[in-house]
Symmetry: C2
């Protein structure tokens, strides 16, 4: 269950930032994900990765976005009223994501918009940002999610 | 190894479309991925999913993008010259992705640009599109990748 008070579309506050907690990936987890989905040398081969500009294994950007999604589901998104997402407007992988480093995420509400065709729902446009322990932004994505409104009493 | 002739930045042809093959996800795979990264009911709970507008389990959008990335690495991207990606400009999850359906992907080169600061490399901007067996587009993403140029002889 999300440890917050967001249950329906109505509860998202434009301009508000919601902390999402943090994750740390092990090198084994990074290699396992990338072996399955993004088997490039700097994601799966420690020796090859050591010789690149990254200096060692880094997470697939798709692993980083997925791990951040998990924080969103665990700590914010109201899954009972969630209707899915039409997409993302932008993803930026600003800095490499390394093993054994704790990354914390923050969800920022940009806009909340009522559906024009369906009165029981609407869309939240948000930006989710990921930071390293030095406070540097390492990734962000901006996109939309559809949610039901709170039913009339 | 990629089963094509793209080895370096120079080999990407603007305007060309490269077929990437196809993938099929089982319901177990969809549930496993989403349990780990996107545990919303319509991704992990067959009974709950049956009662939604989707009519059954659908893949997390992040699973769809990751599975498509795997096709790119297996069938096109030259991993020896790949330097990673700065991000995506757009992702659209246009239609649900269901278990036991074969989805095929096509990679389209939009632009190839030399780096202004580093003469040995450049960026490819591309759109990767995913289609269902009916030929309907179900997902696309547009973004960039950095690649080394072919070394002088």
């Amino acid at each position: 269950m999300a440890n917050n008070s967001v249950e329906f579309l109505d509860d998202f506050e434009p301009g508000r930032e919601y902390p999402l907690g943090s994750f740390t990936l092990t090198q084994d987890e990074i290699i396992e994900f990338a072996t399955r989905f993004d088997p490039q040398p700097f994601h799966i081969d420690p020796e090859a990765a050591a010789g690149t500009m990254f200096g060692g294994i880094i997470a697939s950007g798709w692993h980083t976005t997925a791990a951040t999604m998990r924080l969103m589901v665990d700590n914010l998104l109201p899954v009972e009223s969630s209707l899915g997402s039409p997409g993302m407007d932008e993803i930026r992988w600003l800095k490499p994501v390394y093993p054994d480093v704790e990354y914390r995420a923050v969800y920022c509400v940009n806009t909340v918009t009522d559906s024009k065709s369906k009165p029981d729902r609407g869309a939240v446009n948000s930006t989710t940002r990921l930071f390293n322990p030095e406070g540097e932004e390492v990734m962000f994505f901006t996109g939309a999610g559809f949610y039901l409104k709170r039913p009339p009493a």
